[in-house]
Subunit: 130 residues, 2 copies
DNA sequence: GAATACTAGTCTCATTTGGAGACCTTTGCG
DNA sequence: CGCAAAGGTCTCCAAATGAGACTAGTATTC
């Protein structure tokens, strides 16, 4: 029985591969950093300005919002535009690549949604035996 | 033009919804915790014992490995079996739900793999303008 | 028979990361 | 004049993490 990963980690390792420097991990860090994911989802609602995003994400700190946005911009998932209107405004939007990435994330969200009941059951069971 | 999220965050918010306590976020935290993802991938290679996993993940600490495994077990993604063989061994394996979750994660990995070149270009560009 | 090492973890301590909120500069409005 | 809002940055403290020492029981080695 062939497994789901096809020994991917191992394959990488064989190719002489530094896990601490793995580019794929770096990309996945956008997912594994908690906020970037939610920022992308917010931006999925359309372009928004900094403070709008800030208000939209109820429990993020400005610091992390700024950092997440810069990281995402750096990797070409988000575009930052400065409009020099009267109070200079900055708007953020998804690039096509960002949209594509967001789509994948949403499949994960869907999975979580679907399986939530089963997970709650598992937690009950786990708590019970403790 | 309908966007990709369909205002999901907003919809949740409307339903009277505490983001800090969101069950879906809790599930996604398995992804957004960096190690659980890699642990799942390793387990994708088949059931393994604690120390095997530890050796397989080059840069994890025992502490985080133990914690990740417990979290995943708690949510029913991983099964822990104690064999009371001579040196009592513990083996970890994916549950069906774990496999299903891993499959989604792998689509993310594939995405990262595919888009890596574009991302590197974006980084160059970003670095250049700074 | 004693020493070594493997098993699966836990515990402690130092470093890193993140959250909360003050603060900055410029422009607009009352 | 004085406050508000724009987009952030900076500082300080709490929380999460990494490295690695340490545990107990058994098997193997010498």
């Amino acid at each position: 029985m062939r497994n789901t990963t096809d020994g991917r980690l191992e394959a990488w390792r064989i190719q002489g591969f530094d896990p601490a420097n793995c580019p794929v991990r770096q990309v996945l860090d956008h997912v594994s950093a908690k906020w970037p994911t939610l920022v992308l989802m917010e931006l999925g609602n359309g372009p928004q300005r900094f403070n709008a995003l800030f208000r939209g994400l109820p429990d993020i700190s400005k610091r992390m919002l700024a950092q997440s946005l810069r990281d995402l911009e750096r990797d070409g998932l988000v575009r930052r535009e400065v409009h020099d209107t009267k109070p200079p405004g900055v708007s953020y939007s998804l690039t096509p690549m960002g949209q594509s990435f967001l789509a994948r994330i949403l499949t994960l969200v869907d999975w979580a949604d679907e399986h939530m009941p089963a997970i709650l059951v598992a937690r009950e069971a786990f708590g019970a035996e403790a």
